[in-house]
Amino acid sequence: MTIRVAMTVNGTEYARDVEPRLLLIHFIRDELGLTGSHWGCDTSNCGSCVVWLDAKPVKSCTLLAAMADGHAVRTVEGLEQDGRLDPVQQGFVECHGLQCGFCTPGMLMTARWLLDRNPDPDEAEIREAISGQICRCTGYENIVRSIRWAAEHAGQTP
């Protein structure tokens, strides 16, 4: 049995007939082909699948696509605007905020959400915000620096 699921993803409307059990991460990656969001631990621990549902980040491996029906989703592909990287993306470039890059899409989406709520977070606030996400390369130090870079360069990326 399938149901019709329609949602806006990064400003574009999509509709698909899917099984109700389909998880949002698989809808985004397999049905829409937007593979920037990563499917990681499958247990809501790692956070590499974080996207925004309406205005809030969510671990998309722990939400049914059906639950996002009628809502607006924003993925890492939606950060760049008119060819300009979002400051959080530029921060990860400037401060070497990734090595393998697997956790990066989730980190970026959470970082953007943090900075929208708190434009000048200190290190403790950044670490708290990303505490539900796992990076096995960087030791987090450079991720924290990258997000600080973004805070200090809001609206200044080339």
Binding site: M1, P20, R21, L23, T43, V58, T62, L64
Partner: protein, 286 residues
């Protein structure tokens, strides 16, 4: 790859609609889904129908109403953590919410879902037990209320029957109250190794009433009843709090698992209960 088994999905448009959908057997409510969906992936839960109540805005509130703090079942963990009125009345909820899961999960998981999941290591169940809260349940025959201390029948089991929905939790606010929650976990976002919540109502230096909630340590209904009885009428001082901690540790039933052996968990119960009582007393009148 973990995916849930086949399931049907309906979105409730009102509480009445939700109740009619819930009359079908093998139906589960989904709100935040952050406990249920992982359990469905593991086939620990295998409902035939999911009723999505995320659209029921009338269940998403936190208000001080008369002498009660009323928390709608659909209030998110993050809402409770952000609620100034909840924090002023019951610091225990802010203490607990800071250590429930992680900030992203807290945006979606709900207060009602936490209680209804009835996980034996769940934090809010202990906090609500300590506060002597009341669950408000709606069903086909109207509304009924159940003390949170009678709400859980056992691990993953509650008094909610077929066709019923937890609507809100009411917490009595009294003058002279202070509260606190103390948890030890292996890492951020993990379940408790052990945790203790305390609510004290004081008259001067004397304890009028004590509420102590424990989680993850096999305390019946998440309550340390013997320690509460011990404290009633005693002086609110360090000797009382330490003695109550030892009583709580002696009466709970922790089991050894990968989070630690039994004696370690009992040690934590004694220490965390004492700390929670100490902090609750310090917060009275603040």
């Amino acid at each position: 790859m973990q995916v849930p088994a086949h399931v049907e999905y309906e979105r409730a448009t009102s509480v009445a609609h939700a109740l009619s959908l819930l009359s079908r057997p093998e139906t589960r409510v989904v709100a935040g889904g952050h406990s249920l969906i992982p359990m469905m992936k593991l086939r620990l839960a295998q409902p035939e129908l999911l009723v999505d109540i995320n659209g029921l805005a009338e269940l998403a509130f936190i208000v001080l109403d008369g002498g009660q703090l009323r928390i709608g079942a659909l209030a998110r963990h993050a809402d409770l953590l952000d609620s100034a009125v909840a924090g002023e009345c019951f610091a225990i909820f802010h203490d607990a919410e800071r250590v429930v899961a992680d900030p992203i999960v807290r945006l979606w998981g709900t207060v009602g879902g936490s209680l209804c999941q009835a996980d034996p290591s769940e934090d809010l169940s202990a906090a609500f037990a300590a506060t002597r809260a009341t669950a408000v349940i709606r069903g086909p025959d109207g509304e009924r209320t159940v003390p949170v201390r009678e709400f859980h029948l056992g691990p993953y089991e509650t008094v909610i029957g077929r066709g019923e929905l937890l609507a809100e939790v009411r917490v009595p606010v009294r003058p002279g109250m202070g509260s606190a929650y103390q948890k030890v976990a292996r890492r951020v976002g993990d379940w408790s190794v052990a945790a203790a919540g305390a609510v004290l109502t004081l008259d001067g230096g004397k304890i009028l009433q004590a509420g102590i909630g424990l989680t993850a340590v096999g305390a019946e209904h998440f309550v340390a009843a013997e320690a509460e009885d011990y404290l009633r009428g005693r002086a609110a001082d360090e000797d009382s709090f330490q003695a109550a901690g030892k009583i709580a540790a002696g009466h709970c039933q922790p089991v050894a698992d990968q989070r630690g052996p039994e004696d370690f968990k009992r040690h934590l119960v004694a220490e965390l209960t004492t700390r929670a009582l100490r902090r609750a007393a310090a917060r009275v009148g603040s």
